[in-house]
């Protein structure tokens, strides 16, 4: 039995990604979108018409990554090939407006370090315990968040861990569009977390409601009353997006 275990360990080798900030994803991965500044044909609204979640605004053309479900249909719909999705996965930010990509912008999406609360860096810089609350999430986001702590991504290296009880946690990570039926439990969970606490929205559904934005079964009033510390877009958010976003936040230097 010992030799079996030894063989398995040998075959597995090193599984972790050594430098989480430099990992490269396949070119097909749909990360940060770019919109070229080529002029549109007069009156063309092909991209906005096809978008399933009304994430595209016209005149000038902008794409809201917080609403985008990354279906790539705008890329195929545009007659001028204005849209493209890069494999840049570092798309988390703490300012909602920064998720709206304008024409001709090819800069990466970054956190506004000045807006990161001081106590986050002070208290959570080297240890952050998080409670995840799924409020209508479709389980892909939850699985990706689970994957953050597996042997490949291993965010425990930086002291970031999932905990079972809100009492042990420093913040909540919300997935899903926040259903009416879950809204009360979400509030109770948030209240149970000791101060200071943070809120992270993971996934398009959580940030804007995504495809469920106008569903009568959701209730997003929780977000009207609370400050969100980090937006992690994606459908579902890639573990690299989440880990890099959180690390940038807790290590923000003023």
């Amino acid at each position: 039995m010992f030799f079996d275990t030894y063989k398995i360990l040998r075959h597995q080798g090193k599984q972790f990604i050594p430098d989480i900030t430099k990992a490269v994803l396949p070119t097909l991965f749909r990360g940060r979108p770019e919109i070229s500044d080529e002029a549109c044909s007069d009156g063309c609204s092909a991209c906005a018409d096809v978008c399933p979640t009304e994430a595209i605004l016209l005149d000038p053309v902008r794409l809201d990554v917080g609403k985008c479900v990354f279906c790539k249909e705008c890329v195929w719909a545009c007659y001028k090939d204005k849209f493209s999705f890069t494999n840049d996965y570092k798309i988390a930010t703490n300012v909602r407006e920064r998720l709206i990509i304008a024409e001709g912008v090819i800069d990466p999406i970054k956190l506004d370090v000045l807006k990161v609360r001081k106590e986050i860096v002070k208290f959570f810089g080297r240890s952050l315990k998080l409670r995840q609350v799924s409020a209508g999430g479709d389980n892909s986001g939850e699985m990706e968040l689970n994957a953050c702590s597996n042997v490949n991504f291993d965010m425990g290296r930086w002291g970031i861990e999932w905990v079972a009880s809100p009492r042990h946690s420093d913040g909540i990570v919300i997935t899903g569009p926040i259903t009416e039926n879950m809204s009360e439990a979400l509030q109770i969970c948030y209240d149970a977390i000791p101060i200071p606490k943070i809120i992270i929205l993971a996934g398009t559904d959580a940030i804007s409601g995504g495809i469920f934005a106008d569903s009568p079964a959701i209730n997003r009033s929780f977000l009207d009353n609370h400050h969100v510390d980090l937006y992690v877009p994606g459908n579902p958010p890639h573990p690299l997006t989440f880990i890099n976003g959180v690390l940038e936040m807790i290590r923000a230097k003023y």
Binding site: M1, L28, R30, N139, E142, V151, N181, N235
Partner: protein
């Protein structure tokens, strides 16, 4: 009585469905359900016009491979009461509860006509999450333990109420609904095909391929598009890959729950290699974007095929040595064996499907009984267990992974036969309408079990109803039975080995 029988992936004009009186309907159901090859694939009601509702039950026959349709019409069901089937055929309990919640139709003699998911458009708004009628256990040493909706781990919400006497759980009541997003009603209000496709991808994000194929097949049937062999083959490969990823991921979490760290880490890493392959294929680890109505947006190139074979060879080597080590370990065996046992008889009575049926020895598998797509060209013999406990779960998953690996290799070899076919061009649906007044049925086998999507169109060729059934609808009750006679500490292992969907149930 003779019944109207259709096949999987078939449309039928609403006019051709015989309308029965309710009395005939229940005697018909009883006659059919006396044969244990039959199970209810779906039973739902939808507004025909104004207050008149049509109710349709689909009884799938695993032996004959067809689906019998029974239907009745009621005016203003909210103010009507009919005889319940549940007392005689418990498998109908969830469907009758769902109909009661959505349409208000009363069922006389239903033993537990409790709310299902507290849908936003339920008829009785006085019923809400705070006043769910739990069962009570009385006695001097009896006690209850509530768990959830927020419970340990990164999982979806659900409430579990254990009724215990001493340390023994006598009943587990599963109370869901927290994940309800209004999927079925959004299928009707969202008008574009793309929006509906995105919705079907979001029914359960862990069974994207299974649900989206079911949806895409329905749309192809209603729009009159043919699914060619190449497209079917590609979809089949995707669905088998999804199965492997889900099963191996589940073995990882079961290992974690029984404190077997090596298994948890290695199976977790193996899952990563499979879902990362999806990222190479279509840019999303959960294959969102891969399945579309009538075409394949991401072609399955020679390079991708070679990459797949390489990935699978590496996967198989590492998987086989890990699973051999795991199943040989006495501590794994002693923790999983006789934990959460469900008998074959129980599974038959409650109408379990998919894994929950297979662990007890019922070979219920749509790929075998109602083949669709490329499964028509292959013979798939379902893997079955015997014992119905947590051990059977892991053993059936292990067998299914190995079968899927073989099947994918066979399918990739078959690819050259159909290479010349074209499935990369998006069909032009702008001026096309769906077939009016038609019902279309699409059954697929997701990794949890049988997925059933039913679409109904109105006279204008617009969707009048879209009914989604995830296998979890049948199987949550099986988890409740599994816990009986066990301890609460067995719950994590049982829950993880069933690994049922919350959002697929709540919709």
């Amino acid at each position: 009585m003779s019944f109207l029988a259709v096949n999987n992936n078939q449309t039928i004009h609403l006019k051709n469905i015989p309308i029965l009186e309710y009395g005939e309907f229940i005697s018909g159901i009883k006659e059919l359900m006396a044969n244990h090859n039959n199970h209810c694939a779906s039973y739902f009601g939808f507004p025909e016009k104004n207050l008149t509702y049509q109710f349709i039950a689909l009884i799938a026959d695993d032996g004959e491979g067809d689906i019998k349709i029974l239907s009745y019409i009621l005016e203003d069901p909210a103010n009507q009461q009919v005889e319940s089937l549940t007392k005689e055929i418990p498998a109908f309990h969830i469907f009758e509860r769902e109909i009661h919640e959505n349409t208000g139709l009363g069922f006389i003699n239903h033993p537990w006509l409790k709310p299902v998911r507290y849908a936003w458009n339920r008829t009785d708004k006085r019923k809400n999450l705070t006043n769910y009628p739990f069962y009570k256990l009385d006695g001097t040493e009896s006690h209850e333990v509530g768990l959830g909706p927020i419970h340990a781990g990164v999982v979806e919400p659900g409430h579990f109420r254990f009724s215990c006497y001493g340390e023994t759980v006598h009943h587990l009541e599963v109370h869901l609904g927290y994940q309800h997003r209004g999927v079925e009603s959004l299928f009707l209000t969202k008008k574009s095909l793309l929006q509906r496709t995105i919705l079907s991808e979001s029914i359960t994000g862990d069974t994207v391929v299974g649900h989206t194929i079911a949806f895409a097949r329905n749309m192809e049937l209603l729009y009159g598009i043919e699914e060619n062999q190449k497209l079917a083959l590609m979809r089949t490969i995707a669905s088998e890959l999804e199965r492997i990823a889900a099963h191996v991921g589940n073995l990882s979490s079961v290992c974690q729950d029984i404190a077997y760290q090596l298994g948890s880490s290695v199976f977790g890493a193996l899952r990563t290699s499979v879902i990362n392959y999806f990222e190479w294929w279509c840019g999303n680890r959960f294959s969102k974007g891969l399945i579309r109505t009538g075409y394949n947006p991401y072609s399955f190139t020679t390079e991708l095929r070679e990459k797949l074979m390489k990935m699978l060879d590496d996967f198989e080597l590492k998987y086989v040595e890990m699973s051999n080590a795991m199943f040989r370990l006495p501590s794994v065996q002693s923790r999983l064996e006789k934990t959460g046992t469900v008998t074959k008889e129980q599974a038959k009575i409650i109408g379990s499907v998919g894994l929950a049926a297979k662990i007890t020895g019922i070979p219920r598998d749509i790929r075998n009984s109602h083949p669709y797509g490329y499964y028509k060209n292959v013979f798939y013999m379902p893997a079955i267990g015997k014992t119905g406990d947590a051990m059977a779960h892991t053993l059936v998953r292990d067998q299914e992974i190995k079968k899927s690996l073989r099947l994918i290799r066979y399918l990739v070899d078959d690819f050259e036969k159909h290479e010349k076919l074209d499935c990369d061009v998006r069909p032009d649906l702008k001026r096309k309408k769906m077939e009016p007044s038609t019902l279309s049925i699409s059954l697929t086998e997701g990794w949890r079990g049988e997925i059933c999507h039913v679409a109904v169109t109105n006279e204008e060729g617009e969707l009048a109803a879209y009914k989604v059934k995830d296998p979890s609808i049948h199987n949550w009750f099986s988890l409740a039975l599994a816990l009986r006679g066990n301890e609460i500490s067995d719950f994590p292992v049982c829950n993880k080995s069933y690994d049922l969907s919350y959002c697929g149930f709540d919709l």
